[in-house]
Subunit: 497 residues, 2 copies
């Protein structure tokens, strides 16, 4: 028995189309995953062409007149039918606004942009990346023009990653947060500086770190029969289907905690993908598009769980047994305090959970200025370094440690970064709700029992896929709209300790 | 400047269509490669569905009425135009004979068949594979009916893998060869038995074998910037494009020579794929469809080069340095003699180059009987064991070592095995031609210089892609049609030593 009303011929047709679209997008996802994991070094040009062709085919199917007609005529019966129609209508509306040639150019440029970025980062030379990024910014401005917008072309790009998100909404959340953090950060820096002993920045064996990450991943509940982990330049999660979810990580031999928690972070994304109801797999509703919801899951596991003292009460003895020499004389308490040191730094993905938001605000301001035509691509390094100094008080010594650190812009992911902060805030809000239902959660974590949070998240969030919009989801799951309140309470409680 | 006459709008259109088809088939190839290398264990059902969808899309494009019309109207100017039209016409004619639903069923069944085969082989239980194979045989009989044939439905399947090949032609080559081998094998068995000392069947370290294989692969000239090697249950080569060629191998810790020569074999396929002229890449002419030609390249490297004493004059000292304990007291001569022992055995891919053909004849007779309806799937194990006894004098102790050893049938590769023997014969014929141009070839090999044969093969064969049919190719390259004469001379010379 399907959750969809397959006895209705129109619903049946819609589900079949949805499934075909999902199959094509899974193939595209595999091509993209492979490009970042196993593709031959010189395979990039051919890959760009393959992606261009497949994205053109996807576009043809996603904008077919017959689909538009079907969407006009079909009437949903079950809750699932109605959600399917709603989401397919949104996808159809967005897709039909873009000409095929633009979609293909974007796809090709995104694939080539990845290679240009890799190359520029290796060479520590932004100018090797700039021409590609200039083309991408131009294409994304064209996308915004096609989608249409009221206040800013940047709004149109935000909406693609998170429905109804606007620059004003982002500012309404992030700027007050920024002002709070401006006061909080110096306080926490002073408070935690004493614990920064450099224990966690010795050299650790890469293979052992990989094995430990795999162990943690399995322990928190990522299903390795329905997914895997590989290595890539920048960690990411790609859910081909709920039965084949690909995580990647990178091994930092001088940063074991970042290495392990990066796996925990992607594991949080991965468990979301794996947790969608099998009934929805292969359909539009099985494909989670809210990046805020997605990031709430990765951050929940990385921060609320992975940076808690209870998590390390369970894992530290094992880590110490793996690295007896490096961790000699350390305790759960000392390690937990060191890994929670608040310290402005250069690299976003290694940042602590407080200064992290400043990294996002820098990116948000730069990318919105690029799209609004207030900033030229070649001025990015100067602007970046200025803002990092302003928000974090840190000097940027090179582009690789500055504006070349992230993979996103070259791939066309502009309007994406704000969802990282919003997702982090959402994760704290969710955490309050989980704690309300399971006051003994920390106790369970300390014993290595991760079923409780996993089951809670699965039932309240994962299983529904794209059934609810993320605004609806916030209300359903936490009883209130997204704000930074829970996050600030979480930070205050944690550092009061 | 393209080798195609792009100033002609029809040729330009044809090249664009050819390129789109190649992109889709590259994506399909990646999905298939991934299924055998990195796919999550439970991802098979979704993968089958993705392949079904993509093969349907490919079929739609490959059979589009507009393509048929274009092929009717287009006139080629350059030699390349004419070959492109000829090959696209052949593909179009074949594709339009099959209904879309059959193509999709085949694709799905082939993907599921792979999993059923893996499972059955692990469990050593043919009956777990039989239902899938029964469906596949039924589908392939239907394919033969759609293609049409004069004498046998099996002819229609042979033709798909090797243009114009028929059962009669296979028999005309393989049966006289079989009769020669019936006399030759017992003689060579007696002659070489003394060298079978078991040195090469001790336990060797798997990681060291992998590293050594990679070293050999690079040394013979496979370009690791435009290709890679991974592990799979059954070694294969998948050329996505000429800049991204995927080899796989399997590490047999009790058989270092088979492990290394399996890499050399796939490397031969891989260098063919990499060697196609860049002008032809992304088009139908860049996609080598003659399996006889393909196998001639892998066998050339595996047998003529890899089993020559000169090859081991170069590599044995390195192998001995890698495994000093296992190979203590051995010499180039002793190892070369042992690896060339002729001995009837159970596993085709580990068979020596003489008894090998008997393995193929067994498969040829069984698969043609299946397609002609003279043999039922559930009778395969009995028939297999009977024939292996008849042709090789060996008792088959289990299905895993018998009729479950090969991946092919479950994937729908029926009518494929004969090309292995024909390709082996062709490789010997090619070797005679190379020797004529380079009488000092053995001397170069002994010094680890592999450029001469690689360059010769590249210029005479690889670079042309699908420009010539394989019958034309045999004449152009060796001056005569394919026969077993050169092979028999090669074996006689070798074992006279």
């Amino acid at each position: 028995m399907s959750v969809f009303t397959l006895t209705d011929p129109n619903i049946k047709k819609l589900v079949a189309i949805s499934r075909e679209l999902k199959d094509i997008s899974s193939a595209i996802a595999l091509l993209a995953w492979d490009q970042e994991t196993y593709m031959s070094p010189k395979g990039a040009l051919a890959r760009a062409h393959q992606l261009e062709t497949l994205s053109g085919i996807y576009h043809d199917k996603a904008t077919a007149k017959s689909l538009g007609k079907l969407l006009d005529e079909v009437k949903g019966i079950s809750e699932f039918d109605i959600a399917l129609i709603r989401e397919m209508q949104r996808d159809y509306t967005l897709a039909t606004k873009l000409p095929r040639s633009l979609v293909q150019e974007l796809s090709k440029e995104s694939s080539l942009g990845l290679e240009a970025w890799k190359h520029a980062r290796e060479q520590n030379n932004f100018s090797l990346f700039a021409p590609s990024l200039e083309r991408m910014v131009k294409l994304k401005r064209e996308v915004a023009r096609c989608y249409g917008y009221v206040d800013s072309p940047y709004d149109a790009l935000l909406d693609e990653f998170e429905q109804d998100l606007t620059k004003k909404k982002v500012e309404a959340v992030l700027y007050p947060l920024r002002d709070e953090l401006k006061v909080l950060i110096p306080k926490l820096v002073t408070q935690t500086k004493q614990y920064d002993k450099g224990v966690l920045h010795q050299k650790f064996d890469g293979q052992k770190l990989w094995d430990f990450s795999m162990h943690v991943l399995e322990k928190i509940g990522f299903d390795l029969e329905r997914g895997r982990q590989d290595k890539s330049a920048h960690p990411f999660t790609m859910g081909l289907t709920q039965s084949d979810v690909r995580l990647t990580t990178r091994i930092l031999e001088d940063n074991p905690i970042s290495t392990i928690l990066s796996t925990v972070h992607e594991g949080g994304h991965g468990m979301y993908e794996q947790g969608v109801s099998p009934e929805l797999d292969f359909t539009t509703l099985g494909y989670i598009t809210s990046l805020v919801a997605h990031e709430s899951q990765s951050r929940f596991w990385e921060n609320m769980i992975g940076k808690s003292i209870e998590f390390w009460q369970y894992f530290f003895p094992q880590l110490q047994a793996t690295f007896p020499e490096e961790l000699e004389g350390e305790t759960v308490e000392s390690i937990w305090r060191e890994l929670n040191v608040i310290k402005p730094s250069l690299i976003r993905v290694d940042a602590d959970e407080v200064t992290y938001h400043m990294h996002i605000i820098v990116r948000f301001e730069i990318e919105s200025a690029l799209i609004e035509g207030r900033l030229a691509v070649h001025d990015i390094p100067t602007e970046w370094n200025k803002k990092i100094k302003e928000y974090l008080g840190v000097d940027v010594p090179s582009d690789s440690l500055g504006c070349l650190q992230d993979i996103h812009w070259g791939q066309g992911l502009i309007g994406y970064f704000p969802t990282y902060s919003l997702g982090s805030l959402f994760s704290a809000q969710i955490y309050e709700s989980v704690l309300k239902d399971h006051p003994d959660l920390p106790h369970a974590i300390a014993k290595g029992e991760f079923e409780k949070p996993r089951k809670w998240l699965n039932e309240k969030i994962h299983t529904h896929g794209r059934l609810y919009t993320s605004d609806e989801l916030a209300i359903r799951v936490t009883g209130k709209p997204l704000s930074s309140a829970a996050y600030l309470r979480y930070i205050e409680d944690k550092f009061a300790r």
